[in-house]
Each structure stands twice: as structure tokens, then as C-alpha cells.
């Protein structure tokens, strides 16, 4: 299970512009093994989105190398092999929820009927049962995100990138989605890399957390999250969790108020 799926070494990205350009990422190392849930957190402007665009093959890095399943790959070979779920659900308003989720299968050449059958089997688990024929506008934000996640899951990529998937949801819905996602992940053991700026979310879901520095983005800290699984939401108020949370916050540059003696 320890086979490295995706690895970045010395990854850098510089955007040229008239006034000298911006170094978004610089010398970033990162790896995700098979069946691992890994998170990347960092202050805004640390190049998280750039990192994802590089890992998804949407942009070419200006420095460093990327490996996918042991092969050195450039953007052209990454594109279409790494699943990608952006912050907005980007469901097509003209398709039903069911037909939105089978997009990846369709592109891969799976017939519509077969795709619908395969997707339909997962609708219950994704909390979408009964909404197969609805259009995206008829669903709540949380349901749309789950549909978008199902679309990404079904595309069957080796590695899935989640770009702040719950960032646009209200905090209660988000907490519910995190609990749900941790169980779905523990069931399916997909290889996932999550970008977030929510420290609780990163710790609760992940096996390992990378903290990035502000621009240019570098790895400031790698934290192995050795908290037991399966995890439930009580975890986030437990001592081991808050200790790690404090460590992460310190590395994110948050100065904590002195703790009150209890």
C-alpha cells in the first residue's frame, strides 16, 4: 500500500510579467502514496491553486519534476489522468444530476446506459438517491458538491485532487460533509490530495498534512497525522487533535492567545 502514486520534486512555477514576474511556487516537494489522504494547507497566496493546476496537468511547471506511478511526466501526460474537483461544483445546468456524474465515464468511452447504471449504484452512498433526474439548480449546495465528488470518483483516476471542495458551504453543512467524506474515503480508500485553508478539515480527514509558506509556496512543515481510524467528529475536540492543530496554526503564522488554565 506504500507505493507512491504522485510525487513532486523541487516543483517551481514562475509567472512572467512586465514587472519581473511572480514566483508562485519554489522548490516544493510532496508525495502521495496509494490509498492515502493528504492535505495541503497554507495562507492565501501560497500558490495552492497553482500547485493543483500543475498536478492536474493544466499548466507546465517552470522547475522541478513530477512522477505519476513512477514515471516522469509532463503536463501533457498528466492531463486526463489526475481527477480534479474544483471549489465550485461546475455541474452542467442542462444535464440531470445522473448525467452530470457520468461525464468522466462518457469521455472514457463507457456507454451512457452502462455509465448510468454504475453511477446509480453509488447515489445512495452519496446521499443523492431520488435526485437522479433532477437538475443541478434543484439541489442544495452540499448535494451539488457531493454530485461533483461522485463525478470525480467515477472518472476513476489514480489520484484525485480536491480544491477546497467545501469552501463555499456554510460551516454546519461543511462539518457534515467532512464527516461524510471521511467515511466514504475509509470505505473506498481512493488516493486523495486535498487543498484547504481549514485546519480542522485537513487534520480530520488526512493521513498527512503539508503546510505551505506564503509566496513563494514552499513546504514549511510535514505532519503525519497518526490519529486512529475510523474517525468520527468527536475527534476534533480531543486532546491529540487540538495539540496537532496548535502545531499547524503556529506554522501557519497564527499567534495563539495564551490558554486559560482550566
Amino acid at each position: 500500500m506504500d507505493r507512491v502514486r504522485l510525487r513532486a520534486e523541487g516543483l517551481g512555477k514562475r509567472f512572467a510579467s512586465r514587472d519581473g514576474g511572480v514566483q508562485a511556487l519554489d522548490g516544493l516537494d510532496l508525495e502521495v502514496s496509494d490509498g492515502e489522504f493528504v492535505s495541503v494547507i497554507g495562507p492565501s497566496g501560497c500558490g495552492k491553486s497553482t500547485l493543483f493546476n500543475l498536478l492536474a496537468g493544466l499548466e507546465e511547471p517552470t522547475a522541478g519534476t513530477l512522477w505519476l506511478d513512477g514515471d516522469r511526466v509532463d503536463a501533457g501526460r498528466l492531463l486526463g489522468r489526475v481527477g480534479y474537483m474544483p471549489q465550485r461544483d461546475l455541474l452542467m445546468p442542462w444535464r440531470t444530476i445522473l448525467d452530470n456524474t457520468i461525464l468522466g465515464l462518457e469521455v472514457a468511452g463507457v456507454g451512457r446506459a452502462e455509465g448510468r447504471r454504475r453511477a446509480g449504484e453509488l447515489f445512495g452512498e452519496f446521499g443523492l438517491a431520488g435526485f437522479e433526474r433532477r437538475r443541478p439548480s434543484e439541489l442544495s449546495g452540499g448535494m451539488r458538491q457531493r454530485a461533483a465528488l461522485l463525478r470525480t470518483f467515477l472518472a476513476g483516476r489514480e489520484v484525485i485532487l480536491l480544491d477546497e471542495p467545501f469552501g463555499a458551504l456554510d460551516s454546519l453543512t461543511r462539518a457534515g460533509m467532512q464527516q461524510w467524506l471521511v467515511q466514504v474515503w475509509e470505505e473506498h480508500r481512493k488516493t486523495i490530495l486535498l487543498i484547504t485553508h481549514d485546519v480542522d478539515e485537513a487534520l480530520f480527514l488526512s493521513d498527512r498534512v503539508y503546510v505551505l509558506t506564503p509566496r513563494p509556496g514552499r513546504v514549511e512543515l510535514v505532519l503525519e497525522v497518526d490519529l486512529p481510524r475510523p474517525r468520527s467528529y468527536e475527534l476534533i475536540t480531543s486532546e491529540p487533535f487540538t495539540e496537532r492543530k496548535q502545531l499547524l496554526l503556529e506554522h501557519l503564522g497564527m499567534t495563539l492567545p495564551p490558554r486559560k488554565a482550566s
Binding site: M92, P93, W94, S137, G176, M177, Q183, P230
Partner: protein, 284 residues
């Protein structure tokens, strides 16, 4: 603190308790949609009728609505024959203008070079007054249906091409990126993403085009024609047959309104999701 039991996600996945967006299909009842315009029309027409009768207005200046309606009935055959002529011009011109507009829009979206070269001409073409062009068309094509169809096509073309170009460009760039990570090819993105997201824009263009088409046809007939509602209006005006002129305008208006709503109806049939999405957005 309870020890978390081994969770079975299929049964235990705790989904957030959130109600789905209300599937509100209730529209205002039929009465609520029909009554306000009906009542308003009755008030306006009633005031008009009362004014013509009470002030004893000369019908050569302003005929009463009842007289106009009577004239439509009395001259039904005449109006019907001429309406068919005008309707034919409108439909042929509209289809040709819209088809050319859509075709050019797709072409210009595919090629930036073509867009840069052609777009200024496109805009300039709209600055040339149809008033100046129409007589030349009559000189070229004679008193046939052709100059009217050309005028209609010319006025329909522009709103369609501009709206379609905007629509094809308005596609969410993030959506395109997502489709690329799914392995979608560029031609397929055009077909599966760009074209559907351009359809609402296209229909906006078609509605404007249809409204202009009616005016275009009448204008084409004014310049040189021996039949059609536009020709009839001109003839009636020259005879000071004001009541019949009003009746002809009424027939033309009803035809134009019907055509406009037909485009809207086709829109609802082709892109039902657009109205649902819009309605959902206004509910939030």
C-alpha cells in the same frame, strides 16, 4: 466519551441534515398571469373607446377600438391574404438571417484571425441605414419577394451573430479546464460545453431578431411592393382609410407578438434547464 463503533458508510454515513433546494414548480396561477394584462388592456381600450365617443372624434383622425375590430372582421380575407405574404417574407428572411448569423458566429469563435478581420465589417454593416440599401435591393431584384427577404435577413443577422459570439465565449473557463482534466478533446468541449452554454444567448438574439424581422418586412414592402401588410398600410394611408389602417396595424402587431412568443416557446422546449436555473437563482 463513546468509542466510535466501526462505521458502515453505506448505512451510517451521517449526511448533513439539509433540505434540498425547494423544488418549487408552482408558478403564478393561470388567472394570476392572464388577468393583469387583460384588465390593463380593457382599461386602456375602454378609455380610448370612451374618448372617441364622448369627444366625438373624427374617425379619420382616431377610430374607436370597436370600429377597428369591426374592420378586421369585415376585411378578414383581405388582411389574411396580405398577412400571408408578409409572414412568408418574415419567416424566410428570419431563417436565412439567423442561419447565417449562427454560422458566422461559430466561424469567428474558432478563428481569432477571422474575428479580427471580419468583426469591424460586421459592426460597420449595421451603420449602413437599411433605408439607403432597400431601394437598391429593389433596383436589383425588382418587385419580387427577394428584396423583402434580404432586408429581413439583414436586420435579423446582426443580433444573432453578436449574441451567439458572446454566448460561445461566455462559457465558464473553469468548466473547460475541468473537462480537460476529464480527458475531453477540444472539439468535444465545443459540442458538449460551449454550444449548450451559448444557447440562452442565441435565443436572446433570436427574440430580438424576430421583433426586428417584422419591422424589416414592412419596411421592405414600403420601398417597393404590390402586396403584403406593409404595402396595404401605405395604400390605406394614402386613401385616408384610417380605420382600416389601424386594423392592418392591429393584424401586424398580433402576428409579430405571436411570432415573438413562438420563439420564446421554442426556447422553453429546447433549453428548459435555463428557465429552471434562472427561477432557482431568483428564489435564493
Amino acid at each position: 466519551m463513546s468509542v466510535p463503533a466501526k462505521a458502515d458508510p453505506r448505512t451510517a454515513a451521517p449526511l448533513p441534515e439539509e433540505p434540498p433546494a425547494p423544488r418549487d414548480r408552482r408558478r403564478p396561477r393561470l388567472a394570476g398571469r392572464v388577468l393583469p394584462p387583460l384588465l390593463f388592456s380593457l382599461v386602456v381600450l375602454g378609455a380610448w373607446q370612451a374618448y372617441t365617443e364622448l369627444a366625438d372624434v373624427n374617425p379619420l383622425l382616431l377610430p374607436s377600438p370597436l370600429a377597428v375590430a369591426q374592420s378586421v372582421v369585415d376585411n378578414a380575407a383581405l388582411f389574411a391574404d396580405n398577412a400571408v405574404v408578409t409572414l412568408t417574407e418574415i419567416l424566410i428572411g428570419f431563417v436565412l438571417g439567423a442561419a447565417a448569423g449562427i454560422g458566422l458566429a461559430v466561424l469567428l469563435t474558432y478563428s481569432r484571425l477571422a474575428e479580427r478581420a471580419v468583426y469591424p465589417w460586421l459592426v460597420a454593416s449595421q451603420m449602413v441605414p437599411i433605408v439607403a440599401v432597400a431601394p437598391i435591393l429593389v433596383v436589383w431584384f425588382g418587385f419580387t419577394i427577394v428584396p423583402k427577404v434580404v432586408v429581413v435577413a439583414l436586420v435579423c443577422f446582426f443580433p444573432v451573430v453578436v449574441n451567439t459570439i458572446d454566448g460561445l465565449k461566455a462559457v465558464d473557463p473553469e468548466m473547460v479546464r475541468l473537462m480537460r482534466t476529464l480527458g475531453m478533446s477540444r472539439p468535444r468541449i465545443m459540442r458538449s460545453v460551449r454550444v449548450p452554454s451559448a444557447l440562452p444567448y442565441l435565443f436572446s438574439g433570436l427574440k430580438v431578431a424576430m421583433a426586428l424581422a417584422v419591422i424589416g418586412a414592412v419596411f421592405g414592402e414600403w420601398v417597393g411592393s404590390s402586396e403584403g401588410l406593409g404595402y396595404l398600410m401605405l395604400a390605406l394611408n394614402n386613401q385616408l382609410a384610417t380605420t382600416e389602417l389601424f386594423a392592418a396595424v392591429l393584424v401586424l402587431s398580433l402576428m409579430g407578438i405571436t411570432l415573438f412568443f413562438l420563439v420564446g416557446l421554442v426556447e422553453r422546449l429546447v433549453i428548459p434547464w435555463h428557465h429552471e436555473t434562472r427561477r432557482a437563482a431568483t428564489q435564493q
